[in-house]
Each structure stands twice: as C-alpha cells, then as structure tokens.
Symmetry: D3
Subunit: 338 residues, 6 copies
C-alpha cells in the first residue's frame, strides 16, 4: 500500500501532544493496515473495529461505536501507563497497534460476517492478539469463530460479560441478530457449551425455553442475583478456577451493557441493576491476568445515547486498556489480585 | 364504549413484534378502559397513569412520566419473562393490563385528586391490584386514600421508598404539593403514622420541626446513614419484619429519586447519595414477595432531564416489573430472598 | 379481534383531556386495526407506521420515528383545527384514524417490504388514503408500489421532497437501501421517470453517473440552487403545473431531511442548506390542495438526534396535518394559495 | 433592607470582568430591590422576573426561564453596546437595572398573580419602565393589568408577538392558563379588543368559536400566512401605523414561540413555521423605536428543552436588549427603520 | 461600595421563596463583597468562586463551574437543614455567606493566580473559612498557598480527593496546568510532601517517574485498588488517623472527578472506576468533622458535559454542604461517625 | 517518517466503504504528514487542523473542533462529488489531502501561534492551498500572517465572514484573544485595513471606540442590518467587486458564528440574527469561485454545544467542501453565480 515498507505508521506527529490532536487511532497508537505491517512491527496486540449495526432490535447506532471508543482517550501517547498496584507498564511490555476497521457491508450481514471472520484471521495469522471494537454483539459469532478455527474448534473457552445471554436461535427469524451469537458458536461447534462462562445476566432474558437449552448445553451462567449475594470477586474467582480446567485458550467478550446504565447509558438495550465501572474494569483485568486471553471483543457502545459526555465510550476504552494491562501482568507473572 | 364487548383489547397486531412497534401501552400489554373490561378479563394487576405535575417545586415535567415509562420496555410481548433465581414467570401467573390514564385537569388539583381517587377505586372495585405511574408524588395522597378506603381506613401499611419524607404540611401554603402527601394521609387517618415505613431518606429534609412531628406520629424512618452502616438488605429485612406485625394490607410507594442521581437523573429533585439500581430493584421485589402489596405507585420520573437516553424511565419500568414478579412469587409461595 | 364489532376504537377516555394523557395514537385519533375497521368507520385517511431502519448508511434510529411523530402532538383532540386563511376545518371534512404499524421483521428487508406493501394495499382496499410514517426512505419502494398497483402501474405521479435523489441502484450492493427506493420504482415500472418530480436536492449527491441516469429517465429535479434563485413558491407552482398534465393520481413522499438541519436535526443524514419549516409546511399543503394526493409518506425522522426537544418529530407531525388540511381544502374546492 | 441607603447595588466587583464571572443579574446590571432603589437610581428601565409555571399544558419548565435568560449574556458590562445602523448606545441613553423576581407561590395562581400585578405596579410607581421575564404566558394577565391601571384601563395598546392567540376562556376550566391571558385582559376591560395587535399566529389554534370571538372584539390578527405573503416588515409597518392611531401607550408581549422552533426550541409548545431570529429581533426593535412602549414581557423560555446550548434563552435576552435599544433610539429621535 | 454600611446583603426578597427564584448566590445565602462585609457579619464560612479554565488539557468549560454549582440548590433558604444522624443544624451553628468570584483574567494565568491568592487571603484575614468553587484544579496552587501563608508555610496538611495525583511538573511546559498544582505546593514549600494525603487515585496516571517523585517526597497515596480491597471508610479512618499526627490545620481539595463518571459526568477528564456519591459525601463530611478543615476547594465541574440534568453540579453543591455540616458537627463536638 | 517514500497515505482500506468506517481524516481523504508528502502528491489543497482554545472568553471547547469537523462527512470517498448547477466535480479537478494538525501547546499561546504560522508556511512552501480547521478565531492571526508573508505583506485581501469584528486590541490585556486577530493583522502590517471586508457583523460589538478605529483603518464592514435590507447576494456581489480591485490574493476566514444559532448552535459565542446555512454555503462558494482564494480557515466550532447531533460541525465541513468546489469552478472558468 502506497509503496511504503511494511510496519506500523505513527499518525502522531509530535513527541508530546495533547490527546485531542491529530487523527484518532485508538489511544493515538500506530496504525497497521496489513498483516505484513503487523509482522514487521512484531505487534503483540492489534485493536480493530467492527462498525456493524445491521441487526439492531432496540435503539440503533452501535456501528458508530469504534470511532467513539477510539477517540475517547485521555492521554497521549499512552506509553507511560503503569498499573498502580502491580506497577506493570503495559505499553513497555507489549507492542500494541490500531488495525483499522473490518469491511462492513450495510444490509449484507452474511458478507459482513465473512469479512469480520477474515479480519480476525488476518490478525491471528500475523501472530497478534486481536481486540475487536463493536458494533453490535452479532459480531462475536464471526470473530470467535475465527479464533476457534485458529486454536481448534471446540478448544476455546468463552468468558462472556453481559446482561443478556445472547442464546436465542434467532430474532424474528434473523440469525445474524445480536441476540444469537453465543447460540451459533455453540451449535456450530466453534465453542462447546460447557466452555462458556456468562457473568452479569439479568433482566427478563432469557425466556424459559432458552434457559433450558442453556442448561442442556452446560453453559455456566452467573446471574446478577448470585453476584449480589456472593460479590463479584468471589464469582470471578470461582469462574476462573472452573475455566482454568477447560481449554487452554480463552476469548473474552464484553457487552458494555453488563455495566449498569448509570455507568454505560450509551448502549442499545440498557438493563438496570448491573455492574459498576469499578467492578467491570477489575473483572476484565483479572480475566486477562489470571486466566489469560487470546482474543477479545467489546461491543454495543452506542454514542447516540451517551448523554453528550461519552462516559460509555470511555468505559469501553478503559476495558481495552485493562485487558492489555492484564495481559502484560500475566506475561510478567503478576497474575492474581485475589 | 364503541359497542364492543367488555374485556382487554390487544393493541399488538402480530404474534411476534419488535418492542418499538405499535401503540405503546405498558410493555405492550392489553388495554382496559373500564372496570367491566377488568372484570371480564379477570385482571389481577392494572397499570394506570397519573400524568400530573401541577405542583412542581423544582424542575417541572413529571406529568410526562407515564408515557415515558410505558414506552421504555425492551421486549415484546413480556409474557415469557421469568425470574432467574426463583424461575417464577410473572405473566403466566398473573393477568396484567394497562388501564390508561386518570383524568388530570391542569390547574385544578382538587378535581384532579378526586379523579385520581376514583380511578384507583374503580380498579380496586374490579378486583384488580392498581399500579399507578406518576406524575409527581402528590398523587399518593388520593391514590393511597382510595386504597385505605377499600381495605379500611387506618388499616393500611405504607412502605415508602424515597429520598424525601414528604411530610411537610404544605409548600408555601399549597396542600397539594408533592412534599405533603404522606402528611395528609396520616393526618386524615387514611394511614396511621406507626404503619408508615420510610426507606432511603437523605439530603437536608425534613427540617427539625417536621422531623419532630414524624417522631411523634411514629413513622419508622430509615435514613441512608443507617443503610450505609447496616446495608440495605438488613434494613429491608428489619422493616418487613416490623411491618408484618402491622396491618394485613400494604401500599408501596416508590419515588424514583430514592435511587442515586447516577441511576435516576431524570427526576425533579435529585438527591446525591442514594440507592443503586441493583438495590432498588431487589428492594421492590422483596417488599412485594415477602410482605405482599395491594397497591403501588411509582412517581417523579421526569423525561425532560433523562439525558436523552431514558435510563430513569427504564428503571421505573423495571420497578413495576419487579413488583409484579414479587407478587407472582408470593402467590406461588416463593416469598423470601434473605 | 377481541370479538368486538368493526370500527375505530377511541383510546381517549375523557371528553377533553391534555395532549400528553393516555395512549398515544397519532394526534389521539381513533385506532383501526383491520380493513374492516376502516370500512366500518368510513375512514378517509389512515395513518400508519413503518418503523423500519435495517439499511441505515449513516446514523441509525429511523425505526423509532413513528412513535416519536405520533406522540408529538400539541392539542387533543384535534377536531377543532381550522386552517387560518381558508378557514377549512380538516377534521370536520375528513374522517382520519391511526392504523397502527406494519409488521417489520428485523434483519429481513425482503419480508418487511412485502409486509409494508400489503399494509398499504389493505388501507387502499378499504377506500382510505394511506399516510405512512417512516422509518427510513427505503419504505417508499414497497409503499408506492402498492399504490401504483392500486391505481395502475406507470399511472402514478411521484412528488418527492428530499435533499437526496435516492436513485442509486444500491448501496454497497444492498438493494433495500434508503438511497435506492426511487430507482427501483422507476426500473420496475411502478412509476415512470418523467412522472417523478424531485424538489430540494442538494449536497454532493447524486454522483455524475446517477445524475445522468436521472436525466435519461426524465426525472424533473429541482435543486436548491434553483429554489434559491426562483423561490420555492415559483418552483412548486411550476412543478404542480407540469405534474397536472401527468397521471391523475399522485403520491407524495417527504424525506424530513429536505428541511434544513436547523429545522430537522433529528435525521440520519442532515444536509445543510435546506428548506425552512415555513417553506416545507406550505409546500406540503399546496401539493395536497392544488395537485391532490392519493397517498403520502414521511420518512427519516430519527429521535436519537432530535436534541432532546423533538422539533423534528413535531415538524413531521405538522407535515401530516398540512397534508390532511390540503386534502380537505381540495375536497371543499379551496385549492390554490398562489 | 440591610440598613443601606436606597439605590442600585452593583454585583460586579471588577472594572472589567468576563461575562460568566460573579452573581448573574441580567447582563450584570446593578440590582434594585425596592421602589426606593429605583427612584434613588433614577432608573429608566427595570428588568424583573416572573418565574411561574403553574399552569403548563404541554412541556413544563417555564419557571426556570428568568434565571436562564439572565445568565445568557455574552459581554460584561454591557454599557458600551451600540446599535450598528443608528449608532445609538442604549446604556448611555438609559439607566437600566435588574429588579429581581416577583414572589411566585407554587400552586396558588391567584395569589401569585396578585403578587405579579403588585410587582409591576411598584416599578411603574417609581417611574421606571418594566420588562418582565417569564414564566409562562399567563403572567401577561396580571402584568398588563397593572400597566393598564397605571395608564388608564382601556387606554393601553397591546402588541402581541406569538404563535398562539391566547384567547381561550380557560383550559379545562383553568382561568390562569397561559392560553387565556389576552382573553381576560379584554373581557375585564384592561385592554380593548381593537387595541390588540397579534403577529405571528399559526398552527391549529385558535379553534373556530374562539376565532369568531376574536373577530367580534376586533383583535387585529396577523397570521403567518399573511407574513409569508407580504413579508414581516410590511406587516409590522402596517400594524404600527394602525396602532399609532390608538392609545398613547403600548405594552409589548413576546412569546418566544413566535420564533420558529429552529431558533427557539427551548419552549413548551413549539410551533413549526415561525419567525427567524433576524425577523424577531428587528420586529421588537421597531415596535420599541417606532411605536414606543411603556412595558414589555417576554415569556415561555423553557431551559429544559434548550438542547444544552441555550440558544432560546439567548434569543430572549437579545429581544430585551433590542427593546432597550429601540427605546433609546426613540428617546433620541431615531425611530424608523423602514 | 454603594455607600452602604458593611455587612452581608440578602438577595432573597421574601421570607419563603422557591429555590429557583431570584439572583442565585450559593444556596441563596447573603452576599458579601468585601472583607469588611465578612467582619461586620461575623461570617464563619465564605464561599467564593474561581471561574478559571485557562489551562484545560481535555474538555474545556470548568470556568462555568461556579455559576452552575451555585444555582444547583434545591431548597431555599437553607437555614433549617439538619444532619439526620447527629441532628446538627449547620446553618444555626455557623454564619455562612457567598463572597462572589475572584478576578480571573483570561489568558493571563500568572495574574489570575495572584488574584486568586489575594482573594483567599482576604477571606482568611477577615476570620472566615474559605470554600472555593473551581474552576480547574490549577487554582489549588494559589488558594492553598494563601492558606499556607496564613497558618504557616509547611504547617498545612492537604487532604486531596481526586482520581489524578496532579503532581506533574508541568503539561507541555505549562506550569499553570491543572495537573501540577500539588507539585508546586510541595516544591515551593507551602505544603510538605508527607503532609499530603491523596485518596481515590486511579487510571493511568501518574507515569512512573512522577510516581517515583511522589514516593520520594512522602505523599500518602491511596489508590482505588486499595479502596476496593479495604473499603473507603477504613481508608479514610486510617488517613485521618495519620493526618491527625501532622499539622494542626488542614486544607481539603476535592476534584469532582474522584467520583465515578456515572455520578459526575460533567467534568473534563472523567475516570471510570471511582467513588460513588454516597462514599464521596460521607468522606467529605468525615474529613471536616473528624480532622477539621481551615479551607476547602472543589474543582473541575464542567456544566457543558453535565448531560442537561446537572447532577455533577448538584453533587459538588452537596460536597460543600457536607463540609459545612462536618464543620458544624466538629464545632459542637460531634466529630466521629466511625 | 517510518522509512516510507513521500506521498499521501490512504487510510481507507476498501474500494467502497461506509462513511463511518476507519480512521477519520477529513472526508476520508489521504493523509500527508510532511511538505515532501504534499509535493510528491502534487497536492492542490491541504486541510489541516489548529485544535487550539487557550483564550476562550465565553464557552470553551473550540480545540475539539477539528476532530468533529473531520468526522462529520456523509459519504466516502468523496471523489464523485459534483456541483449541481455547474456540474463541476471538485475532486476530479483538484488533489486534496488532510495534513493533520499543527502542534498546539496548552497554556503557551506564543509558542502555539509560532507553530501555527510554521504549519501554514509549510503547506504554502509545498505549493498547496491551506484550509485550516479551528480552533478559536485567534488562530487567524498566525495563519494569515504566514500567508501574507508568502504573498507579500500588505498584499493580501481578507474576506471575513463573522458575527464579530475581532478588532479589539486585546481581551482583558490578552493579545492572543479570539477577539483580536484581525486587529493584529492590520496593526502589524500583514493585511491593510482597506483590504479587509467583513460580512455578517451583528450583536453588540464592537463598542464605539473600536468601531471608530475600524473606520479609520478603512475596514469595509457589512452589518446584518445591511444584509437584511439589500440581501446577501447583493452584498457579496458588491464586496467581491470592491475586493477585485485590491490585492491579487485573498484569504477567507469564516467564523461559524456568522451563521444563525439555529444553524450553528455549537459555538462559543452564538449571536442571534445571523446567516442561514443556505446563505453561508453559497457565500463561501462565491468567494472562492468569483474572487478566488489562496488560503482559508474556518473557526469556532465547539462540539460541546452541538446538541448531540453535530449540525454545526457538518455545516463547517460543508463550508470547506464549498470552498473546494468554488476553487475548482474558478480553475475551470465557471466563476460567477450572479
């Protein structure tokens, strides 16, 4: 592309610059556009977007999520970040880049989902860990499929932070719905039901027949009622202990609506009674540090409902930073916080 | 009306339809317009609106609450809802309908309050449990009066979740103020002071002379300072234990500003330092399941301040769903969560 | 349905009631749910919703338009409305009802568009004039097709107020795109190119090759540059004169983004430099009064971007009222304002 | 009060200070609290607030208008303002102060309206010209009554810029409604119908029977349809010419909703199709300069719907500045702009 | 000024008046404009504004904070406030006034900071306790310097509630940055490092070299990770115990972004994962009651991002009220809550 | 940089892609980072950002303007744009790129302004026409200085569309104020007073002494009062005729607040009574086409006040597109529209 040698391109122009200056990649990180760029840069983690919202069932706009999450950083450049307790500096430990967006095709979910799968496959093939910014939760189907095919179908654990189980066979017949991604992954064999851990479920989903199916396939569902009783740290500890006896590789999918609407109003289907930001950020970091992840997505940020102040996009941005921090902690052997 | 036989009318037209489609009754439930409709439908719970805001003392707009709460549902129809822990399905257990709105007359609180009292009386006379969507908190005066007259004056317990005590004799001489409803109920004998349990009080109300009156009449006030010390579950348990030795019938009134402004910004008089959504939803469910209620209102939702994302209206909607769930749990004998 | 005799059902309960009270049909008009209801009520105009937004190319949310437009009325009931200049009272002259919403199926545009076509066909078959509230502009394809099939394919004039020509063959291959509806109507023969009059085009669409196609098929396009030079009244007069020599029946489609973003910010693709509210309302009334219409739609209202004050939804609501007023003026012989 | 000598108090502390600094009186003008203060300061114009919204029929919040209008100034202090064309400097020509707010009593319109009448009477008795910031349009009844009693009942012209005629006898029986103020002034004899000039009426009010009454009492109503045809300048010229043959003293009442919702979204009952800001500001200045006014109010600013940017409050603020400018122009003999 | 005798001036005009009425000083408290006013009124606490935002690094607008905080009160007058648990009435115990704003000079931080220092010095010289409403956090440098010079340089404890340490030497070379105030206080000797207690730090600041400096100078930093583990009450108790062995006088600085963005979205640099409102209000009260304070500031309220509902400004307002309450409790000997 | 050969880099990855996809340069145009890139790409027009807001006098946030303007495009890629009337395709006629942002240094206006001047100089030295996205209006001082030094000091015409004259010597002593840029350009000799044409002035600026200075130095000021009388087209025609007898090179500076607040609410100092979007877009195009420009800036877009719908940013984006279109028209000999 452009005759340039492969490698990350810095869009920052000045050694020190305010956060709002310049063309906004994620956190002002260098941009890669091809797998060769990733390889040449020996990139550990590639952050890409999946700006897709073709299947919204409630309030539309999740396709505008990646751009909002990217622009929501506070400091620039981020290389001096350091986790306070462990004193791990993630950007010294890991090479991280922005990988741009996958090719979404409006009105054609089948083609878009093939593109998303290929997008993630490209990142994995270059040896990088993909972090995908949604888009609606439908994208987890193709993205996790790509990861499962890379590491072995049925050999991938799925840690799923969400207020909804997303295990409906379809929505009004639409299989690409954001309510169905986990169902398809299990039914197609990419992930086995007993390797799926769901945390934060609440509200009035799923209906009985779907909850029965979830029981049948062995999904480990941790409802908010359990979290209220036992505390999130205990639930996470138990979940990670259980997951650690499963597949060696784990995919983390975070639906931002797992957070309470007070913390994440900018989403399509807010469910009152969820996690605080404090709980969510720690949970993400712990999964990455204690269990380890090979891929991640964070979905359902909808800037149209973010109250003009972008707190939801920033929370999602921080979830990504915590996942990177946790990954760095794990690399350096600082896994556990409990 | 319209020559039609009595009974609920479904405004939903299709067996399965998205939540945002069609004319919005509460949760897309069938509509009843007369007591005969309620009787013909053997309706257990009738949800009606009291779109009244004639006495606002701070930021106006609570008269637009019922419409916002109704439209704030996520799924449609709601009949497959099931409570996760108890696996109770409220809409299989109970027949629920929307009863439309009471006749408010702008600028005439006396007439409006008579209309509200009659509106609730109609529902009770048909054998249904009324859930009233406010409107400002002034409406609790006529609504609870109607319930007290149905079950016996002085024989009604009042469970009051609120940041304010609403026990002022008037506001600048105005007796219809939203700050006075509880005072009137007690002074008129509809409810006895010692049967009133208030939970969540905070801020700088009430002033000393009113707090003294509250002590005199025996109101059991649980301030946030107590909740911070003991935890809400313990406070609720104690309150329900105490209440269970009182009258056989209880009225639940929820001022949405009992929730913290982070969870319920869309209200007229937000008081920092309140309940989380998680706490509020569980508290409502526990009151309905463990003590049992014969009527409920939820008030002070003000869409003009709901940040363009409607999280307050949705929280109020969910409070109603939790009250229905708790009522179903109680009917099926699944009362306690602690 | 419900065993009731056919006919419109009033959801208003009281002789006089504030606008915000009760279940919001359009302008608190009676509700019809079947063609038999329309026939029994001898309904002249039926207002229905098409809450569809599956093909958004910019900012999503047009599926929430019908509900916002319906609730945006000021007075209730509207029967005493009277046009100031002509002193025509539209609701005395015409029977108008709300016909609910068509069945949209998320993620299935083909089925949805068949449902929309059938929805409009039902209204026409009952002898009523359909006014459809969008939804994105894709809906004009099935809606106008139904009207063309009723009055004769190729025998329908199309008056199209919009900032965009909507004559792209597809968007990224998606034929159901809101950019393509006019193209399909012409290519499928429902409407002939020379019977299409477009008013208000501006911005950077269409690209040359599409503009060439428009010229070929004979579309009469009136760009804002012409309106700025000649004034809208002159352009409308000329357009109506030209149209009056065409087919006997006309379909009016109004994309709310024909108005300037200052007047209609709540839309997906606002184009600066458009009509004022004053111009738009008069234009709609003149088309209905001077040319006459047999069907109408108004599309692309997106409440998520309506600045928390709903001025776009209200403008759309008024466009509908002006179309009804113009239709009444025409029925009574008060056609011309120029 | 406070033992201080009578006279205006400056709340500005520094010779030059940014607009947003300090306690916000209107435009940072000195504050008067008593008629003696006005007399001691030889105040020409006193700007006071009527923060009343007890009778809202649509979206509530006009009681928060005065505070928003006051704080909406750009420069400070304003004394160097100069009108560009005439080069008149109003604050050199006239002594202007803020007079604080009248005593509104929530829920007691009768007492509030007596207080408002007394508030205006006080200002007039001190020889100052009152400009009242509403509040809802109901306040014009007591305010204009006070002026009529000062200058002679039936001897006051009323220039009324509004989208609504406000000539209903009541709203649902409520005589204090913002829809009735003009009716009461005429029926009580404070102002004679033929001395009332209304400019900007549109929408679907008034209904026929009220319009007939308006014709009977001789109100000169200029609808937007006339303004669209003739232009506002011509309509104003005609109206002022007609008014100049009437009473020697004129009261100007401006409902901010006379402006189009694009210019004034922050109001309770926005009516599409109104005046531009450009038209409105010039109209106000012309009335003050060419006809002359002895009192003014500006009403129905509702900050809750002002889109977070306050353009409606600022427009109202500027209407006041233009009225002051016009008054200064008239004092200096620069009356006419046409 | 104005020839009036010194003393507080009441801007409230009526014995009882709604909160939104009149010219908004803080909580409608009387206004003082000079040290003589403070002395004449024997004022215990003077609340002044520092509307400064010349050094913003993220989202601008903190200079509009004082006005928003002042206007955010609920009740008026506040004199009957009483703390629920201790039943202390702060406004009976202490004389409190509004002292207006310091003179900020846009674009001239050096002059502005001198003015701010003088502003605080004036208050202290009159024997009053200053509470300063920011403004960005840069203002703490001059304000705390003034206090240190009053009580002795190096003899002042600093309790700092914030998500950021504000210990950078500069931002891009700018020493007046809101990221540097604590650094300058320490480096200039106004406050000694070991007398600084920071509570609530989180996010990705400070970078390692700054954190090392903080360790060197002995700052006691309590990160959110500690608060999550131990609970805020325990952390506060420990911090107050440690501080009580230090200097006799303490300055409390509260950056509103110490609260979680759900509770305080209206700020320039929101950091997810912070304190709840409940925690913050209690922490402020405990510091004032148990340790005692001689000055306070509260900074970084930015109304432009406050979601149209002002919950951040109200939270800041309540922080001030809690500080006053705590001070009254301490005066009356009701210090401890734990 | 990065070892790549010089030239524009495309950040778009797919031949056709939705507008919201990928890293947002202006209109998804290729990015240049050095003068060599500009030269290698033979770039005609380079669009760069000046994200500076260090001197705000009213509502802060203009430093966030460039990012908002960039992201506000509708279509992608823009190369098929064609002007409707002239059928000129600007992106076929001209090579246009994004040049990133100049280096702003928070709190150091002197250094920032030197950087801005150098930034523009770089673009000019590469033979490209600079279009600078502000930032506050202070940036015109260094930007136009760079252009004047390139084409000859005193040999540059300035066309200035604005509601404010920006001819104050300083604001509270601050020479970098956005109110002073035109003053400095004239006083320093970069531009001569008689070569400055101001269009759209209104409100209460400038005060008499500044207006007198403007008269003295020969500025040709066209106030809104003139535009209201004569129409904007006539004023523009006259202004361009006059300017065409002046210097051969012209700089166009557009303060977005020249538009009415209804069209451009997202700005720091909105002045009611301004240009419509229709007028502004045509005026910009006419200046570029009929007079010709060698540089442009567009300033004072403030996303914090853009009502959550971004209409101001989009209007600014379109102003840039119209300037490019006009430049292309001029290149092809299609200069005049009147």
């Amino acid at each position: 592309m452009d005759g340039r040698p492969p490698g990350p391109i810095s869009l920052s122009r000045y050694p020190v610059e305010p956060a709002w200056l310049g063309i906004p990649t994620f956190g002002k990180l260098p941009l890669c556009q091809t797998p060769d760029d990733l390889r040449a840069g020996e990139v550990d983690i590639a952050i890409g977007g999946a700006p897709w919202d073709g299947t919204n069932q409630d309030r539309g706009g999740a396709h505008l999520g990646p751009r909002a999450i990217r622009a929501s950083h506070l400091a620039s450049p981020p290389h001096s970040h350091r986790h306070h307790a462990s004193r791990v500096s993630p950007f010294e430990t890991l090479v991280v880049c922005d990988y741009g967006d996958a090719h979404v095709v409006v009105g054609d979910p089948a083609l878009t989902f093939r593109n998303l799968q290929e997008f993630v496959r490209e990142i994995l093939s270059a040896g990088s860990l993909p972090i995908v910014l949604g888009g609606d939760h439908g994208i987890t189907w193709p993205c996790a499929t790509a990861v499962a095919e890379h590491y072995g179908r049925g050999e991938l654990a799925l840690i799923h932070l969400d207020s909804h189980a997303d295990t409906a066979p379809d929505f009004q017949g639409n299989r690409y719905s954001h309510s169905s991604s986990i169902r398809h992954l299990i039914e197609e064999g990419a992930v086995r039901g007993e390797h799926v851990t769901q945390i934060g479920l609440r509200g009035y989903f799923p209906p009985p027949e779907i909850q029965d199916w979830m029981d049948e396939v062995g999904i480990r569902a941790h409802y908010m009622t359990e979290i209220e009783d036992r505390g999130l740290d205990a639930v996470i500890s138990g979940a990670l202990a259980a997951a650690s006896s499963g597949p060696a590789h784990a995919y983390l999918t975070v639906d931002i609506d797992v957070a309470d609407p007070s913390c994440a109003p900018g989403t399509g289907a807010p469910e009152p009674g969820g996690l605080t930001s404090r709980e969510l950020l720690k949970a993400v970091r712990r999964v990455a540090a204690e269990l380890g992840i090979v891929a991640m997505d964070i979905v359902e940020v909808n800037p149209a409902y973010d109250a003009g102040n972008g707190i939801t996009a920033r929370l999602a941005h921080y979830c990504v930073l915590e996942a990177i921090t946790g990954t760095a902690m794990r690399k350096l052997g600082h896994g556990g916080e409990e």
